[in-house]
Symmetry: C2
Subunit: 178 residues, 2 copies
């Protein structure tokens, strides 16, 4: 698995959950399908009047979640920014060509109330819940940072094995064991 394959899988999922934070700091999550994938960036369309747009303009942090039919969870953490002014028209056209149904929602010139955001740097977490043990890896797109997750055993370990015995997903093994 790698970042590019994750993006392709998100593309197949089609309808993704986009989480943002509103002005009260509360979580917000919506389904977004007006997304265009380039090998090194993700472009998505929304309308300027929406809370979603305001949250992106004022904070920009976004987490995007897709769940494939193979029980893979793909989660992307990033900061979104408006695509450059001179590219807006091009990306709007591209997204509307990718997804003709958008023309029903935004007929004719009304697509001009839209704005395209771009994500260039992202951290991707990939979980495959359909295998045993669960497979989990992280990747980056652009300059995205991989955040360290979970736990590690420090040098204070006395080798009692209690952690291994209790771990529900068998994530603890004896040093040296395969």
């Amino acid at each position: 698995m790698d970042a590019r394959t994750c993006l392709q899988k998100l593309q197949y999922v089609g309808v993704l959950a986009f989480a943002t934070v509103d002005k009260e700091g509360a979580p917000q999550v919506r389904n977004i399908s007006a997304v265009h994938y380039e090998p090194d960036a993700i472009y998505f369309f929304t309308a300027r009047g929406k809370d979603f747009c305001r949250e992106l303009l004022s904070d920009g942090r976004v987490q995007i979640l897709g769940y494939t039919r193979y029980k893979e969870m793909i989660r992307l953490s990033a900061k979104a920014e408006p695509a450059p002014d001179e590219e807006q028209e091009k990306w709007i056209r591209t997204i509307f060509e990718d997804q003709p149904y958008l023309s029903n929602v935004y007929p004719g010139d009304t697509r001009e109330i839209g704005i395209v955001f771009v994500i260039r740097n992202a951290q991707i977490e990939y979980f495959n819940l359909g295998v045993n043990p669960i497979f989990r890896e992280s990747y980056t797109v652009g300059k995205g940072q991989i955040a360290e997750k979970g736990y590690e055993i420090t040098e204070k370990c006395i080798g009692c094995g209690t952690c291994m015995k209790h771990c529900p997903v068998s994530a603890v093994k004896k040093r040296g064991d395969k």
Copy 2:
């Protein structure tokens, strides 16, 4: 459509996106399926060691999103709290009986690392994107508050009709028209 039907529809969707806010105020979103529905409350299970659990304990605000195969978007905004101590065992048992696969993830006694949260008061937003025009309503569960959304036309209106002409979803009509 009503709140109870929305909850039933979320139950059929099965895997929901749960958005929370982390300690840096950044958006977080995960797929959660360990959910049990009662007519007047939603119970869900997670493990105590997870960031998700910490975010729920320290902030508690959550937004839950489900997307049905009929292009319905159901979004629930609420504050989650741990179920009462004396009910934890009962709800853990109920959720594991509802969804036997959880026993693979948390075998034997390891389910005791889990905690059940409850949502009793919620606001539900229902969108049906599969009809024209798009249908949208809000409901409450318990004491949930309906937040006013969108725009309204004030008494300053001069009746020029510009807003109606430009609205991409035909949401503006002349006063008195059906």
